[in-house]
Each structure stands twice: as C-alpha cells, then as structure tokens.
Symmetry: C2
Subunit: 371 residues, 2 copies
C-alpha cells in the first residue's frame, strides 16, 4: 500500500521529467526527499541527496556513512542504490561521478540547494545544465491525497487542543517566554513530533509579526497573540489566535472585529476554481475599507504540508486556481506599531463542498470563550 | 562597547575583501548575519540579505516588510540602509538592482545561499562573479573573543545541569520520546533559548548516531545514549553521555572504557599549535588498537559557535593548527549495529594553558555517578 504510493509519486515525477527533457533530478531538501522516499535526515552541513534518473529504474541515495542504517530501514523507494561517504570523502565529487557515469546533461535541481553543491557541477567539464525542478515538485505536492489530508487533520487536532491549553495558561505576571516553554512541552505531550515555533506576543510585541517570545510579562488589559506551529508525521499545522488578558478596550474590539470579518470574507471565497489572489483580495478589501490597509503588511496565507510555508501562496498576483486537496492558512492581521496587533489564522483544505476548516476553535478576544 | 565590537568585525571583513578583491559581500545565513549585525530572523522562503560594500561605509539590509520594525531595533551596524519588500515584490530583483547601482562585479557569497538566489545574479547582464566567502567568514568566527567564550560557558553550564536532570529522569518503562519531551521542556526552564536536538536512544537505537527519539521503552540493562544540543544567546552547547539503566554487561563496560580512553587521548592532544587531525588521530588510534576501528564511523568533533557544526572540524585531513579561542566538541563513539552504541562528547575551548573543558560532568556508565 505505502510502497505503491511512493511508486506512484516517482512515476509522476518521471512523466514530468520526460516533458521537461531532464535526464535526472537531484533532490537535497527534507520535504522533497520525504515526499519521494519516506526518508530524510537532519544532515546539517553534510550533503544528503537523492538522484532519480529518467531512464533507469534504480535511484541513487548519496548519504553520510552514519546515516546508512537508518536510511536502509526507512527509505521506501522500491529500487535504490545507497552510496555512503565518510567524513573525509567529498560527497559532491561522488555526485559528479554518478552524474557523469550516467551521462546526465539536463539536471533538475531545487532552488534551495546550497550554491556550494551546484557550483562544482556547473563549472566542471562536461558541465551539467541545472534546471529548477521546484515548480514540478510543488505541482505534485500541492494536491494532498486522502492519507495526507488525514495527517493534516490530525496535526490540526493536536494544535487545536494545544491552543486551548495555551490560552487557559495565560496568567498575570507570566512572561512570554515562560508561556512559550509551557506550550512547547505540552505540544509534545499532546503528540506533536516537533514544535516549529511558538510566537507568544503580549502588548506592543504583538505588532511585530515574527518577534520571538521575550522576558516581557503579560499585564492585565493587554493583547496576547499566540501563533503556534507544530509538526506531526512530517506535516504542519500553523494557527493563530488573539485574546485580551482582561477587558478589551474599544480600539482592541474594533481591530479584532475588522480582522474577524476579513478572515470570514477570505474563507467565504476559498473554494475550488477560485484564484488564490481572489482570497487575498477578499480579506484585503475588508481591511482597507475599515481604513487599515497599510497595517496589513503580509499576504493572507500560505500552503501547508511537508513545509510550514509552501504553495499555494494566498497573495496578490497568484492566479493559481484553487483545487480539491490544496491545504493552506487564512490569516489576515492588522499591526499598530507600538500599540498592538491582531491576527486570526485557520488551516483549511479545499474540498468538493468548498473547503474543510481544520481549525475548530472559537474566535474571540475573550479568554473565557476558549476555556 | 557592543557597537565597537560590530564595527571591528565589519572592519576585519573589509580588510579580507580588499585582499580578495571583492567589491561587495552578500550574506543570507543566520549565523553570519548575527555575527556581523546582531540581527537575524527566521525568514524561511523570504530572502533576508545583508550587503557589505568594500568602498562605501553604508551597508544595506534587504528584508521582508514584516521584519522592518524588529530589524531597526536590533541591527547593530553603525551605518545601514534598510530596504524592505512586500510579499508581492521580488527581493532578488531588488538585490540585483542594488548590486548594479553600486557597480559590483566580484561578489562574495555564502556556500549555503540557495541556488535560486544566485542563479539570477550569474545569468544577468552584466553578470556578477560570485566568489565563496565562507572561508573568510569562518576564519573570523573560528576564534572566539572573551565575550563569546563567556556565552559558550553559560550555554555549557545550562546543558550540564540539563544532562544531570535528564539522566536522573530515566525510569523503567518510560519511552525515548517521553524523556525527550521532558528534556526539551526542562531546557527552557533552565534558561536555554532553543533546543536544537535531544537524541535519547535506548538499546539498539544507540547504535544509530542520528536516530530521533522513538516510542521505544527503556528497559533494564539497556544502554541509554543522550546527545543534547541547546542554544543560549545565539551560541550552542552539544554534549553526549552514555549510561546503562541497571548493571552493565561486560561488553558494555569494555566498549565504554575504550571510548573513554579514546576521548581522554584526544583531550590530552587538544592544545594550541596542534593540528586538528592529530586530535582525531589520537582518538581513532585508541579505538583501532582495541579492534573497533570500523565501528567509529564519524569524525572526532566539530566546532561550536553560532552554528552547532562549524570549523574547526576535528577530522583526518584537517591540518588547521588549533589556536587560542577555538571551541569544539571531542566525541568519539563506537557503534555495534543491532546491539548498542557508546559516545562521550565534551565541549572545549583552546586556551593558553591547553584547553578549558566546559563540560563539567562525570563520565560513567553508572547513573548513580550523575544524580
């Protein structure tokens, strides 16, 4: 069953390689390796690469020697040759040799591959001709199959429970960092494999979208923004809620309502056949009409899958038509520098009936609504 | 004081740029940006780049709009122009324009920079000529100043206490994953900013050096290997201890003693003027003499700093002479596949008197020695 899935993914990649006239593809990134083989590793500075040939059945995995046992156990590609190297061998030399032996000229490469691995390939004789394979890989990955959707659902379920626990845990005098430490530990107890980030931001810090938790204490009357990303069996959930610790002010209410309505408009627009940019426009229009257009400083959302940010990007200029199986965030926000910010972020999957919202949580400034 | 430090680092980089005839350098990686400016961010797919010109005082930081407030607050470069871009603008086009406007031909680039950011620069007219700047950057970073050594010491202190707590927490029936969750949470309580990894491996899993924690339960008589990496104010500590849960077998004792003696030999060799490869050879010789040479499948160590793996690499072929201020791990290991593995890892800094060992912990198979 699982082997059939990996076989199919490989077959679809090879079809695309034929269309693009690529002799081989070399993959080095964790998400693409996981997608095609079920295996990857934190290889840091050591090159880990999977080579798929258009003409040969047998793929090739070049890997550090200390990864050999794990790779043999978990790699699901039906026919693969393992070439392991020691810490004193040069993996790029091995890669060059493998490509030369197979007479590879047109080589699909990933945009994220470090330049130091590409440079020796394009400056050698005969040089390979690198062509970006990202669009192809993402076009395969962007449509999630039923098994992937089940995994995304499970990741979201963990994150929903985690958000409730996090909000329940807000207390006077606790710092952003302390609450963040609680969330990280609780995430693992709830079954997450990894915590990608826990942005807990109180008061003015909530106006800085990517600010990491600080020693700042949470005070009565302040906005608390919680943006939590976790990973489960390779797949991400990424949700945000914003509450006030105590009674909200009128300005806090007004900003929250505007973001709420912007998100509702974007969600209403999110269904099969609609362009990604139309979902962004729906949210943006609502915020601009309320007079806060310049304070909505990011796109409305991003795809979710084996990466926490991947296509489809929900932004102006993206004319991709949404299709069944696409999974992404819907997360408009308004940021008033030196005051506070508000963001609401749900995770959805496009379905036959519009979309399924995986984020089954209240949307309210009031902590009481969550606990 | 701090500003002087960043000014000095920039000045030293510019000297090297003059020697290598580089017009500018573009940095995109977190450690190099932190080293030169005190600022960095998790930018994921969004390009974040710092451009330093040889001739102009004013550096340039190209960054996503949602990073602007944070960057202005924390960037310590005395003279810097911020160019922020929205989610619908192309940061590489901005980078190209900045380079063209400043007539940059020879451009220092990092090996880790994703190829998709380099490709547009080398295929444009006039094309820039990219030259790797890594050796230069690492040659600056490899010698830690007193402030950096104090930070490494503090990171090690947190990790030492964490290891004791982790070993004290080993109990029958607990899984690797559960112990790992405890360690992650405790790390943050002890003051770590980030947990890089917690490899908790019981029984046969300890023979797979990079195996992530699994649901496997820890049983009486089994080896438990704990490899913990944490970050404090940007700097890493990375230590390993191996214990048995219960009475060790004779084979476990024999392997542990061999690793212990190999590490002692490597530590004895680690002082100013000695080549990095000689430290590796000292450990390897001891293990080979005991008949386990083929089971020591990795290098003896790696540098520690703003990256958890960086120069100096303690391995065969590295003839770098150790110098005062170099910080690295010493971590020989023996791995018997399907049985168990043993590794001991300390963090040291080369000093006038040989070296300082930052890992102030017992070395024993017995849990009692730690608690």
């Amino acid at each position: 069953m699982i082997l059939v899935m990996y076989h199919d993914r490989l077959a679809r990649l090879k079809e695309r390689m034929a269309e693009s006239n690529l002799d081989a593809v070399v993959l080095t990134s964790e998400p693409n390796m996981l997608y095609l083989s079920g295996y990857s590793a934190i290889s840091l500075e050591r090159l880990l690469s999977l080579i798929v040939f258009r003409e040969h059945e047998r793929a090739c995995l070049i890997l550090p020697r200390l990864e050999e046992s794990r790779a043999e156990e978990s790699c699901r590609i039906p026919d693969v040759e393992f070439i392991s190297y020691s810490d004193v061998e040069d993996p790029v030399a091995i890669l060059k040799e493998v490509l030369a032996r197979n007479r590879v000229k047109n080589l699909g490469v990933e945009g994220v591959t470090p330049y130091r691995f590409i440079h020796p390939l394009i400056s050698s004789q005969p040089a390979v001709n690198p062509c970006f394979i990202d669009e192809t890989m993402y076009s395969l990955r962007v449509i999630k199959d039923d098994e992937e959707i089940r995994t995304l659902e499970k990741a979201a379920e963990i994150n929903n429970r985690l958000m409730v626990d996090a909000i329940s845990h807000i207390e006077a005098g606790s710092s952003e960092k302390r609450l963040s430490a609680f969330v990280r530990s609780r995430a693992l107890e709830l079954g997450a494999d990894e915590v990608a980030f826990t942005l807990i931001q109180a008061g003015p810090n909530s106006a800085l979208p990517h600010q990491e938790p600080t020693e700042k204490k949470i005070n009565k009357g302040e906005i608390v923004l919680l943006d939590i990303g976790i990973r489960y069996r390779g797949y991400y959930s990424d949700i945000t809620r914003t509450v006030t610790f105590g009674e909200p002010t009128q300005q806090q209410r007004k900003i929250f309502d505007t973001v709420y309505q912007a998100q509702a408009a974007a969600l209403a627009a999110a269904k099969e056949g609609v362009k990604a940019e139309a979902v962004d426009a729906a949210a943006r229009r609502r915020i601009s009409e309320a007079g806060y257009g310049e304070h909505f400083i990011h796109r409305t959302g991003h795809g979710l899958g084996l990466e926490v940010h991947e296509p489809p990007y929900i932004k102006e200029g993206n004319i991709t038509a949404l299709a069944r199986g696409m999974a992404f965030t819907v997360e408009p926000g308004i940021y008033l520098v030196n005051k506070f910010g508000v963001r609401l972020e749900d995770n959805i999957v496009i379905s036959d009936e519009g979309h399924i919202n995986l984020t089954k949580l209240p949307k309210s400034l009031s902590i009481r609504e969550y606990v």
